[in-house]
Amino acid sequence: MAKPETLILTGYGINCEEETAFAFSTAGSNARIIHINDLIENSRILDDYQILVFPGGFSYGDDTGSGKALANRMKNNLFEEIQKFIERDTLTLGICNGFQVLVNLGLLPILNGFDGNAQAALEYNASFRYQCRWVNVMIEKDSPSIFTKDIERMHIPVAHGEGNFYAPEDIIEKIESQNLVSMRYIKDDGSRGNSEFPFNPNGSMNDIASICSPDGRITGMMPHPERGMFFTQRDDWTLLKEKYLRD
């Protein structure tokens, strides 16, 4: 099988593009980092790719709300190209600030097709403080997300100030009934985080850490899988190592 081509966006304060590219390369794709201005200048570049990734970072310094200004830039310059891209057999992933961009861009949740209108929000953390910590998440079995397929549980880091997922009642009902939640924060025993800090690190509605599109091809998540690629990235690896050395 030919290796899939992955386009990792950068520019304007995106800052996780290198490790995200490393992760996609390690996972078996050709990953290329492309500046958003180069993409605007030559939007046909998108035609060469099967996977589009909005990495984490602080696009536009989170000014006027996280992910907003970059979503505007995409809308102002690449609306039709994105529409065309998602209509093809492609995958789109937003991590952390990338998830915030997808939500503001109206790519997630995408309940009525892509119209550029946000239907949900990632609000300030309930603690009103940036939180960098490792959490546990469970993967919803019935979620169609391609990215979380065949995974049950993950120990994974979050680092954000605005990760508190919120959607109005009618929207959240649809998200839940269509199984569009792909990840939820849980406690150590596997039970739901129940909005309790630090298990649910931001106060997200229904402990939501990640959602996806109904066809599972677009996924956004607050946790950073690219920061949990290696054993030695874990917060508990020195403890696990001691245990394994003795087994």
Partner: protein, 999 residues
Amino acid sequence: MPQPNTAKFRIEVFYKKSDPRGIAVRDKFISLGYSINNVYLADNYLIDIEVDEESIKSAAETLVQPVTQSYYINKPYNPENFDYCIEIGFLPGVTDNISHTVRESLEDFFKNKFDEEKSVFYTTCYFFKGELDKDIISSIGKELYNPLIQRIKIYSKEQYISNNGMGYEIPVVHISENSGVDNVDLNLDDESLQLLGREGIANSDGTRRGPLALDMLSMNVIKEYFNNEEKREPTDIELESIAQTWSEHCKHTIFAAAIDDDTPGGIYKSYIREATARIRKEKGDKDFCVSVFTDNSGGIDFDDDYIISDKVETHNSPSALDPFGGAITGIVGVNRDSIGFGMGAKPVANRFGFCFADPEDEVPVYKNKSEDSKLLSPRRIMEGVVHGVNAGGNTSGIPTPQGFIYFDDKYKGKPLVFVGTIGLMPKKTAGRSSVEKSALPGDNIIIVGGRVGRDGIHGATFSSEALYSGSPATAVQIGDPITQKKLSDAIVKEARDAALYNSITDNGAGGLSCSVAEMAKECGGFVVDLESIPLKYHGLSPWQIWVSESQERMTLSVPDNKKDEFISLMTKRGVEATVIGKFTSSGRGVVNYKGKEIFNLKLDFLHDGLPKRNLFTEKNDSPLKFAAFREPEDHNEVFHKMISRLNVCSFEYISSQYDHEVQGNSVTKPLQGKGRVNSNVSVIRPLLNSLRGVVISQGLYPSYSEIDPYWMAACSIDTAVRNAISAGGSIDHLAILDNFCWCDSNNPFRLWQLKQAAKACYDFAVAYGTPYISGKDSMFNDFKGYDENFNEINISIPPTLLISSIGVMKDITKAVTIDFKIPGDLIYLIGNTGDETGGSEYNAFMGEKEQGEKFTGTNIPKVNAEFSKRVYKAMETAVDERLVASCISIERGGLAVAAAKSAAAGIMGCEIKLACIKDNVIQRNDIILYSESQGRFLVSVNPGNKDKFENIFNDLPCHLLGIIKKESSFIIEGISGKKIINTDIREIDYNYKKKLKKY
């Protein structure tokens, strides 16, 4: 009709549902004792552009999160219930990042360029409901804003309604146009010349432009130079430029001066540089230094192909005035020391160190005799500084894996804010060495990044003086991490590897005047056209443009054949790049403005004309307070109080709000174990496809300084080295950095302390073979002002030396953390414990407890480097053989605190017997528990490895003290066998974490 200075549109954005920021503000004021029911916020964008109402509506929609927010245009938000509205915006000319983003978004939306000076402004409105009156709301306002950078407007609800909201005023910069260049007469009497040097050039109205910080010796040399060599009067821009270049901040005049008759080379050359030279020579082909002292950072080998760079800066004076702005500017500024190292190193980690007064100290201190001149309280300084490094580091995508906080009342006049950046750079880029750089005659001088404003004028000369009431507010800057991130990415990820420039440096202190002149050393001269420099607003005088310290700028030397490609790349990346002149080989620096030559100086004079001073020191045997007290009866109580002290307790709230995982390079974290306890050392993996790691740590002991500055410095070095070893570092590949923050450095006694510390810096760096690669000093951290009764006071910081260590470990999978891991593991104390409680945290505590004032004592720890080096080599072996399950380097608070941290981190109890310390001669349990003797570790070891481990330490002090327990009890038996500490791990966790939790 909008009036001049008002905006055409005012867009107010507010929450439809509850605003989490409002809740946070309300809770904060309730915790400060106010009676507040509710707080609502509105974000306001004042926009003055020529578009119709329909278009502005569409544009406004892009500023709103439609699910949670709503907005009004030219109609005030009117929350149901409020008593007062406070509006806060920036003063004219202050960096306003949000407005910058909004203008860019509007330009993108309308596909049109708008005026950078006056099209978009941002303010925040706070609507308060509670038990309020005019005085109370005014004190709330004071808590919310900083008059040095912000403006405030307070309306009662009635005023708000009758005025139809907060209004349309916009803070456009107005400077009476002064494009002239003045000549300055230096042929003055001594008194006038001295005044000129101290307070600056006189304006026509008699006011002065701000300190040149030039003493009589320098003023006379400058006068002679112009009289004899140039045969004319200097222009103001020439004099300002010389002052910047010769400032203590840039030239380190005290470190460069001859000191006493026995050290003509001075502190820097004789002790710091010489130590490195000797170590490198002794190491021979094992020397790992690549670039020391000459560049923006120091650099050492990472592996065969990469260099790791490091630099630690301070940003103390600005942080005293505007803690947020000072700290963010500091961290973003030191990032440029990495980007400006060699051809450009990618920043891979930040670190910090904050010295504050007790945040609960609310006794006011004043700059002058007026109520309005109150210094910001220690709490506000701490909150602002912590937030500033958060905003700067997180936004830039650089992890902050390591740092410390330290408290002493003597930092009440001036806090210390240490910020450091570690960089990674390939040894070769585009086929040439990345370290060697040289501007060539004929190269274009190009500046990239932010524009020039009045911010930061006289920063270099200001930080060379004590803080006093005339300090210029223009010395305050606010960093703009996104502008810099664009610049940084364009340089270190693209332009560097395309070999588009020959040299690069940072614009920091002294602005262009220093960066251009500094680079011109490489080729021999420069010509600059001042009019070509892009400005934030009109009306700057030529000298101001030249010395302004506006942030996020770098200067590059670009050959003609790469010029277009370079500028086009920068433009594509949203980075402004401007050619401002040429490098030459004329031996002179020349600046032209509007067709006139306004600056023409010999470069030799500018760089080397500064007269060398000879300083003298004087020992002063001030009597020290002995610490005479008995061993306490209740060790449990003392133990819990010790672990909750400011200088020992958890600062998790800082570590967890600083992203330490970005770039995926984290190996061992700032918070370790399930119990999340602050470690004093971290390991990162800057290259994801290599197993090599970088070990970073810090050491400082300001409380030892007044007792003996020599041993203070020795302990700082030993700690920085030992901490690195405890995590898996190797003493054979470990470098250090020195940051001296001193006080009153014209005083011969302070200079004597400095010289003692510097001597130890030489002795112990050489003994450990750990070279200095970079350093910085800040010599006047003094405050002169008034106390709460308006009596004069001087507050000087304790002489503070920060030693930072940076080392390379070959295999990160061998890194060690501090947490106890497996029940049944053996607990060892490595190293010798002496009766060394002088200056200790324990003495401070006992003094406060018994007499309401810290005890110092005299017996501070000493360092036996030859012996400790053997211990450290043995520890390296044990770690290398994977025999160490946990290791903590014992520092402030001694053995008891170290044991508490390892136990709390692992959430595991333990039983420790002091009687198991071999050859113990100390009769008091409290001294064994809290002595801060150097050279020690507390480790836990798999019992299956007992013999192997003990063999490695067979002729070294290795004491098997106890065992890790499955149960949560934490027990320490005294020398007589009695259980003197008998507590529970949950109680330790609670007391260790409670102190700073609320911030």
